[in-house]
Structures are given as structure tokens and as C-alpha cells.
Amino acid sequence: MKRRDFLKSSGLASTALFVPSFVQAYGATGVIPSHKKIVILQLSGGNDGLNTLVPYTNDIYFKNRNTIARNKKDVLVINDSHGFHESLTDFKSLYDAGFVSVINNVGYPNPSRSHFRSTDIWHTASGAGEYLKTGWVGRYLEEVVKKPLGAIEVDDTLSLLMKGHSINGLATKDASLFYKTTKDAYFGKIIDKYTATHLSEHNLGYLYKTVVDAKSSAAQIYEKTKVYSSSQEYPNNAFGKQLKTISEFINSGLETQVYYASLGGFDTHANQLNSQKRLLEVYSKGIAAFVKDLKRTGAFKDTIILTFSEFGRRLKQNAAKGTDHGAANMVFLLGEKLKHPGMYNKPDNLANLDSNGDLIYEVDFRNIYASLIKEWLKTEPRSILSGKFKALGLV
């Protein structure tokens, strides 16, 4: 019998629920989470992969994109067929240094072209016809970390990705503001009056527990991070601030393992060239500063950054100089010791499209999750993912 199973069956794990979480230590659950970090970044709205990694010699590409195609002279060439978008200069330096894996044609069967639905699918790690109520990170919290502080979304509302059945991650983009909110006088007084009997009541207990957790987590984040401030310069935009916050959380030694942030605006149905140019620059500059910051403290070797978009965009451009919702797209993995730096697999096959004229997936995104869960978080993927997904040997 594993120690964790023993604790579960002996009832110790359940009594731990009745102890306020500020006195709970890792020991209560018997699992010591690894110190590895995962930072998940979503390019929200559906980034156009075909103009991110441009097949600059492909006739089909030029034929379908008469006004928005990028030529060889526009792109940052990486080989004789492909080049990164011109805005990705800093990102390409990371790529050249071997810190980036590009996994091409990532998706899932029967892809949804709805932002909401497809985001849910990526967040819950479900199939297209499956409606899961919890995110895969939420399930990791529930299975392994056992407390909200294990995952932070750098935003003010919590995404499905971070939700479990009875344990959810936290959302905050400002540790001191989060702390101040929980310190609100009235809020504080309610907590002071909470007693263990509250916790024994079904839903009321859950509400009080959530309040207590919020307060203690906010205090822990605040205490840990208040003395640390990053000297690294970040681009002065919302995404830069989010990344800076994550680096401060990581570099100050906060135990949180999974971070999530999103960069919105990629839904480029009209006049795509300008908006994508600006957005990819925000992404590239932000991520370069972030990696530099983590490298300085040595935290980069323990961090993997996953970048995805809920779907790619259609090969054929539309009349408004933009592109519509598509299907398969690329995923970027960043880290110091990747197993497949560079191109993990061959990019886009534009000759073989689905009935909508979209790229067909070749790598199921859940296999990437399985890799991260197994190879990085040292956890059995089956306990987190529904269904069996093989790890790909990525990290």
C-alpha cells in the first residue's frame, strides 16, 4: 500500500480537511509535489499559425492568401521552407539557442470552431463530444497538491482550467491587492468567527473553507513575494506585467507549481496583418524578458512554458483581409533541456485539408499534457486525464 493510500484509508487525509489550511503542511496529504513549474500561456482568440511559422515557398499558401501572405523577405528564415513571423525576433533567438520545441499540427478529432467550446476542450482535456466540469490543472490540484495555492491564474477570474471538484486554483494578478481584499475588515471578522463546526456542514462548510483558504493563500503569497521584486525590465503592457508577476512568484520561492495567463486579441477576422504583428511582438518580447529573468535566478531549468491557442485559422483568407476560425495549430514548448529542440515534427501539410479547408491534426494535445504530467510533474497521467494518452518524450 502506498503511503498516500494508507493515509486516505486511515481517515487521516479526511480529518486534514477540518484543520484550517494555514496550519496544514504538505505532510498532511503525504505527497510532496515536485518543485518543477509549468507556465501555461494561451494566445486567446485563435492565433494564425500559418502566418506565425510561414511556409514561404509553398504555392498553396500564396494562392489562398493573396493579400496577407508573407514573403521570404518578410520572415525570419529558419530553414529552406519556413520562417518565423517578423515580430518574433527575440523568440527566434530562443529558438536558435535550443530553448524552443515547435510541435506542429496539434489538435483533436472533430475540432470545435467555437472559441468557448474549444477553449473548454483544451482546458478540461476532454474530447470534442465530452463535457467535463473540471480542468486538468484543477484535477492535478485535487490528486496531487491538495490545496489551492498549487496553481495560480494571473488574472482576476478563474478559468475552467484551474477548477477541480472541491479544490480550485487561485486567480490574482496583484499579490498585495489580493491580500488587501481578503484583509477587508468585514471579511476578516467573518473568518475570525468561523469554527470547525462550520466545516462539517455540507455546503456551508465548503463556503467557509473557501474563504479561509482564500485568506491564508493570499497571506502566503503576499508574505513570500513582498520582499522580492524583479529587476528585469518587461515590456510595458498587460502581458508583460502578467509575466513579471509570474517570475516574481517563481523567483521568490513560492511553492505554486502551475501558472496560467492569457494574451487576448488573436481573433483576427479583419485586417489581420497589423494586429497579428503587434500581438506577436508583445508575445515575443514578453517571453524573452521572462526567460532572461528566470535564467538569472536559475529557475529556468525547472520551468517549462507551454504556449497554445484554442484553434488555428483557416488557410484561405477572407474578404476582409483576415482569417476565420480553423482547426489544428502549433504549440510551443520552452525550456532549458528539451528532448526535441527545434521542430518536433514537420509543419503544415497544406495539400491535405479537412472538409472546411482547415489543417488536420496530427498530434493530440492530450499527448502533450500527458508528457508534461508524466515527464515533468512525475505523476501518472491516467489519474489526471480521462482516457489513455501516451507521453511523447518531450521534456
Partner: protein, 467 residues
């Protein structure tokens, strides 16, 4: 255990409980009026006031005119413009719906409409379709479930949301057929993949015109023989729905959903079974709800004050106690977003998960802070994610920390309705669950010199989140 028969007098706390679940709470005045009546009389009155149907209608003259005379192709520019108009009208419609729930006397009908909106889930950007859909939900809210399912299946909002517009003979799209069984009638596991394939064929050609009228496109409809649940026949869509409703799993599935929503998050198979038997008889929603509210177990201790209010419940109840409104509709939508439920914008076809999933650290803090933000001019220190639009600049600029909302509240109504209650009575009126001793002591320690303040303090308790 509190045994009540249909002829026994319904206790005040039980009337309150009934109105919490079947409506959106009860005013002191109405409670007084119903006090002393027998259970069957109270329940009868509840249904009587919801016999009428008052639809929620908002005029959209520009869009109506375009849908009547044009098509997206005939004037694409105007069409794109009107999509924007439609989106903004949907925000107004959201507010109007919350208003309706906060003021209507057809409380049960409103509650059922909201319930079914999270059962037959759709999402549409078309305000005309959205209004039509809302009207159908309200019309059948207490009606016959078979008629309801058929009406829903023919709604333009549903036909387009679940891709039935693309469901054609020879090239079936199974989306609607699958969700019809998985989410609307039977639940997962009560049918095979083959049943989905075959039933999808029966719905081929079911579509709607640009104007929003249902059409059966005969050329696209598969009139051939299908084999569904092991029975062969040239089934139409209606036939399929009838065959589904013959299965005992259907009544069981809906009974369970009703139980979880109206009674308790923790299923009780015996009680669900009772409801299923009643429901299966005529598939009358009215009958099963009447039965439910007449049971003894609906009024037991393990039911009262045990459910977590949905964000919309919470907002409607706040509004019923102290009417409030926003100068900028966006702000109210933003509050809904922070709480995790924007009306008309369900996350997916499965709807909101309800229960505990409403609650995380962030939504909980917003809930506890909300009454002071709304009624005491507090600020709210949160920001929400950008929408899926080409709006990066807007998204970036919007750092609205500590924004103060432009809320107008009507304390006079509060004083008129609640002013005669003493502090103790006010407490019992607003809090349904038993309060912990520690919290009681805390409440006693508060200076009770101002009823407005005390009311806001009560509304800021974790206990207020339950109903």
C-alpha cells in the same frame, strides 16, 4: 422530522423555503398574507399566479426590417453593422431579464424559465432568435415536456447552435441528435452510437430561414428507414422524440435534474424515483412540480437552506430586497462575469455546472464584497478578461482597478417592505440556513443602529449565499 400533510398549516419558514426555491424569495408582506394557510392552499396560489405568461419583449426595429427584406449577401455591410447592434441589444436583454425576475409576480414561471434555460442550453448572437427562444422557454416552462422538446428542436437558436442547419441527407451532422439524448432527455449511457447516427438522419433537413422560421427542407431530409432503439421505421424527428420519451430513463433523467436544482445537490434515489413516476405519467411539468412542492421531504431540515445560490439567484434576490440599477449596462454584465454566470452566455451546451462549482476563492470574495459595493458605494478591485474581438488596445487600456460602479439603489423600497421588521426578524427573513454560533455572536456584537447597514452586513455573510 417535520411531518406536514397537505391539510396542515404551512409554517412561515416553510413558506419562505418554498419561495426561495420555486421563486426568488418572498417579501415580508406576501409572507404575512400566506401565513396561516394550508400547504395545499399555498402551493395552489403559487401555481395560480404563474398561470399567465408575460413574455419579455424588446423592440429591434432595424434588425426586424433587415431580416424581413434583406439577406447577409444582399447587403453585407449593413449585416455586419447589425451584428454589432444585436450584440449590444443582447446585453440590454440580459438586464431586462434580470429585471423581470426581480419584479415579476409569475415567480414560479420565471424560476422554471431560468431552470430550462440551463437545460436546453443555447447561445446565439442574434437578438431576434434569442427573444424567440426565451419566449418558448417561458411558454412551455410548466407545460408538456414532449411539446416542449419538439418546440425547442425547431427553434432557430437551437438549430444553428447545434449545427442542425448543416444536417443533410447523406451528410448527417450528429451534433443535435447527440445532445438531444445526452443532455436534454436521457443522459449518457442510455443509447448507442448507432442510435445517434440513425436519429440524426431523422432530423436531416430541419432548418430555419434567415427570418427565423422553421422549415423542413424536403430535399435534404432523409425519408428512408431508420433503426432506432432496435425498432425499424421511416421515423421523422417527432417520432424519434416520442421514442425517446417512451424510455423510463427519460423521466428519470429529468426528475434527477429537477431534484438537484430544486431540492438538494446530493441526489436521493428514492425521492428522484418518486418524481420520475409522476413525471412519466403525462410528462406534465406542472404536475411533477406540484407533486414536489407537496411532498413532506421538500420541507425537511436536510433540504432547507442547503443550496448554493447561483450568481443570478443572488443578484435577483439582492435586487428584490433593495432595488438597484446601473447607469452603464456593461457594469452589471461585468459583475455577472466576476461571479461566474453571465445570463445568455452559458459556457457550453452542458450549461453551468451549478452547486459547488459556483464557488472558488475569487468568486467567493466577490460575493462577500458585493453587497457593500452595490449598496454602500464600495469599490471593486477586479478586472475581467477581454472578449474575443479584435480589441487588444481596449483590453490593454482597461486596467480598472478599484473601479467604482455607477449604481443607483432604492432604499425607500427597502424601508417600505422591511422597515417594520426588527433586527431579529430581518435576520430570519434574509438567512435561511442555521447560522453557526460564532457568526451569531458576531452578529450580536454588531451595533444595531442602522437597518440599512445591518441588512448589508447580513447579505455579506457566507450564510446568505445559501437558500
Amino acid at each position: 422530522m417535520s411531518l406536514t400533510t397537505k391539510d396542515s398549516i404551512l409554517k412561515s419558514t416553510h413558506i419562505q423555503h418554498l419561495y426561495q426555491r420555486a421563486g426568488f424569495g418572498i417579501s415580508p408582506k406576501k409572507l404575512e398574507k400566506l401565513s396561516g394557510l394550508k400547504k395545499k392552499e399555498v402551493v395552489k396560489k403559487l401555481f395560480k399566479s404563474s398561470k399567465s405568461i408575460t413574455h419579455l419583449y424588446m423592440s429591434t426595429p432595424d434588425i426586424d426590417a433587415f431580416m424581413k427584406a434583406d439577406t447577409p449577401k444582399s447587403d453585407p455591410k449593413k449585416f455586419r453593422e447589425l451584428i454589432k447592434v444585436s450584440r449590444s441589444k443582447l446585453k440590454d436583454y440580459n438586464l431586462a431579464w434580470v429585471d423581470k425576475m426581480s419584479t415579476s409576480n409569475e415567480e414560479l414561471r420565471e424560476r422554471m424559465t431560468l431552470f430550462w434555460a440551463n437545460h436546453f442550453v443555447v447561445r446565439t448572437n442574434n437578438i431576434v432568435f434569442s427573444q424567440r427562444y426565451n419566449a418558448t422557454l417561458r411558454k412551455y416552462a410548466l407545460g408538456n415536456f414532449r411539446d416542449f422538446v419538439i418546440a425547442i428542436a425547431k427553434e432557430p437558436a437551437m438549430l444553428s447552435y447545434l449545427n442542425n442547419q448543416q444536417n443533410r441527407k447523406g451528410k448527417p451532422n450528429e451534433n443535435f441528435a447527440r445532445e438531444l439524448m445526452e443532455l436534454f432527455t436521457l443522459g449518457i449511457g442510455s443509447y448507442t452510437e448507432k442510435d445517434i447516427k440513425e436519429s440524426a438522419r431523422a432530423f436531416t433537413g430541419w432548418g430555419h430561414t434567415f427570418k427565423g422560421e422553421f422549415v423542413l427542407r424536403k430535399k435534404q431530409h432523409d425519408f428512408g428507414e431508420k433503426e432506432f432503439f432496435g425498432v425499424k421505421g421511416n421515423f421523422s424527428g417527432e417520432d424519434i422524440i416520442d421514442l425517446i420519451l417512451k424510455r423510463p430513463e427519460c423521466a428519470q433523467f429529468i426528475a434527477k435534474k429537477i431534484y438537484l436544482h430544486f431540492v438538494n445537490d446530493i441526489p436521493n434515489e428514492g425521492r428522484i424515483g418518486e418524481l420520475a413516476i409522476v413525471f412519466r405519467e403525462n410528462y406534465s411539468i406542472d404536475e411533477v412540480m406540484r407533486y414536489l412542492f407537496m411532498t413532506n421531504w421538500f420541507y425537511e431540515e436536510d433540504v432547507i437552506g442547503q443550496k448554493i445560490k447561483s450568481p443570478i439567484d443572488l443578484l435577483v434576490q439582492l435586487k428584490r430586497t433593495i432595488p438597484f440599477s446601473f447607469k452603464k449596462p456593461k457594469e452589471f454584465i461585468y459583475i455577472q462575469k466576476l461571479l461566474g454566470q453571465v445570463l445568455l452566455e452559458p459556457p457550453n451546451v452542458a450549461g453551468w455546472a451549478e452547486g459547488k462549482s459556483w464557488i472558488d476563492s475569487n468568486t467567493m470574495m466577490v460575493r462577500l464584497k458585493l453587497p457593500s459595493v452595490l449598496f454602500m458605494n464600495g469599490t471593486i478591485a477586479f478586472d475581467v478578461k477581454g472578449e474575443f474581438e479584435d480589441s487588444y488596445e481596449k483590453f490593454n487600456k482597461k486596467s480598472n482597478f478599484n473601479r467604482r460602479l455607477t449604481v443607483t439603489k432604492n432604499w425607500e423600497v427597502f424601508h417600505k417592505n422591511y422597515g417594520h421588521l426588527n433586527y431579529e426578524e430581518l435576520y430570519h427573513h434574509l438567512i435561511s440556513t442555521t447560522t453557526n454560533k460564532g457568526t451569531q455572536e458576531f452578529l450580536q456584537s454588531l451595533k444595531k443602529t442602522n437597518k440599512q447597514e445591518f441588512c448589508v452586513q447580513l447579505m455579506s455573510l457566507p450564510e446568505y449565499q445559501l437558500c
